[in-house]
Amino acid sequence: MDRKRSSLNLFEDIDLNYKATELRLGLPGTDDQPEIKTSLSGNKRSSSEMESSTCTDENESRSASPTKEQVVGWPPVRSYRRNIVQGKKESSEMGSGMYVKVSMDGAPYLRKVDLKMYRSYEELMEGLQKMFKCIIGLYSEREGYNGSQHAPTYEDKDGDWMLVGDVPWEMFITSCKRLRIMKASEARGLDDSL
């Protein structure tokens, strides 16, 4: 097949600047990593940790505090398969609340969260706030989510929309089918009906 690359190459004048790309056996977390990789913060390790420890040592130190903030989509195991494996391990917890869809009013895309990754409402709110870059704040029995622009709601097993935070966490994760972050003004209506 005719490789017409050179004639169709519209960008021949782009200088690849080989000098600037000296090959180095650099370790992760060094200077030349671009800024945008915010998703990797959970996995960067200092160079001393890497060189001095064996695999088992690393595993030991990590098992002390299980990573909450995992890299999205890594390892590349399909959620279908993850749910099965996790369901088996935690069958005592009645794992029906795994991946649920999350939408936020005004945001262009839906997301999915794995409720198993969080251990409390605080953690969930933190996760959602990071994901949607919004402020939700914390729930108070008296005031609901008053004082913030958004209020998280969820659809339970019966199809009813409830304000997140009104039931104990364990009960919440087994009954939550999907999440929706509403504008606070709309959510006030829900609050009244509780």
């Binding site: 671009p34 595993n59 390892p75 279908y80 398969r81």
Partner: protein, 590 residues
Amino acid sequence: MAYSFPEEVLEHVFSFISSEKDRNAVSLVCKSWYEMERWCRRRIFVGNCYAVNPKIMIRRFPEVKSIELKGKPHFADFNLVPEGWGGYVYPWIVEIARGYPCLEEIRLKRMVVTDESLELISKSFKNFKVLVLSSCEGFSTDGLAAIAANCRNLRVLELRECEVEDLSGHWLSHFPDSCTSLESLNIACLLSEVSFSALERLVARSPNLKTLRLNRNVPLEKLSTLLQLAPQLVEFGTGVYSAEIRSDVYASLTEAFSGCKNLKGLSGFWEVIPAYLPAFYSVCSRLTTLNLSYATAQSPELTKIVSQCHNLQRLLVCLDAYLYPIQVLDYIEDTGLNALALSCKDLQELRVFPSDPFVADANVLLTEQGLVSVSEGCPKLQSVLYFCRQMSNSALITIANNRPNLTCFRLCILEPRAPDYVTFEPLDAGFGAIVENCKQLRRLSMSGLLTDRVFEHIGTHGKKLDMLSVAFAGESDLGLHHVLSGCDSLRKLEIRDCPFGDKALLANASKLETMRSLWMSSCGVSFGACKLLGEKMPGLNVEVIDERENLDSLHESCPVEKLYIYRTVAGQRWGSNKVLKKALLVKESD
């Protein structure tokens, strides 16, 4: 032309040509061949549903019986493609319902399929026979009920790893009593119970049923009933493989399995109770495919099973740590994978999944040794998918030397950027050996610590490489440049979290038109470069998927979150916007 074959002869010759590539080549020979070929093409494969529109397809190929469509990019499997991105099948169904009333087969992968679409399918094609949905979502059991009720001659209904909204298990009862044509039924991904009596009756009246894959909820105790009704089965997927240990259940299951003389493939096995495993030992020697990947296999059981499966060609397992050889002084413990290497000389494909990929457990150590053993012992091994926690260059080099016939090699070291665990060096040499020795390698997925050097090896040696998946690798644009300029056969490239920016992409812009698609996420490609590419390359759609606020005021030099580029003759997805911006949670209306 006096010297050319009469049309009927050419048509007859063409009827033996089934491969897409060959058909496409035939159509390029001359105008009359193009004409003849297009009238007799019966199967169409569309690898990217946005590369072409259905009207164009129907106009060119008027008499198609079978269509296969793929939608979302592969990384959608790992939640990297946000919901609402696309892949809606409905607009396609509307067109093909009009254009191909005699259509018999639809196969869809990674597409959003609504109940509406399923209903339309069920009512539009009077001779509809085959529906295969892989990794699809968006529909419920109501849609399945429509298919069951209306497709009188349905032969194949397969739901492979789909997300289905389970409204009712009674959809199965919608198959009319007169439906006796079923050859394949795969409902493994359904989460709720299906009506067992409806299932039983369906199986009983389907003498041609060759493939039956049940879902989890079908209890072990009921398996023998079904197997006795369908002893002609070739592929069988159990439900949950655990129950109270009862000798009568065990005995009838053993008898039922031994009655299945044609059984070649087994799957299912959610939650295995080892005591029940011997029930299927009688079929082991005939098995060519065994999928145990939904249950964590324990070494002794796995060893027993594979030792009897002398004809095994394809094995999928989910492994726990201590299956791997542990060197205790001079003694290497026997393991399931060692047993595989010894017993299964016909093995062609191996997939090893991690049992708990997300928990770093001190006692768990998935090593490379199992894979090295299998590469030594199984001369026909061609395709590997392997998850592990540690890898070394020497192991990879050994594997490459043992198995130059590898065509698909996908290695996932669970920790991103993990180096050679012995030398702490990057794994460039190891993967380099793989691409250099395995000259027929078509698919490669890499992991671990990798510099630009590995990409140089790939560009130099990966001439047959069709699909490459890269994560947390490389150091500069040079890496991407090596791949784009060197891999002659490359069609699909997916990259995440690599320091690749604008230069290599823009310098190899024309290469992108020879590929199906390029995915880049969490890299360093700027918004300005995307716009430039979109403007200069009319044959490409350049989609920026970015969920930040104020995308309209994004600075030219700002890197985009995700980028999906694909060639197309269907034009832009949304009006004349060259770059997809935001707010696109609308259903496609065209």
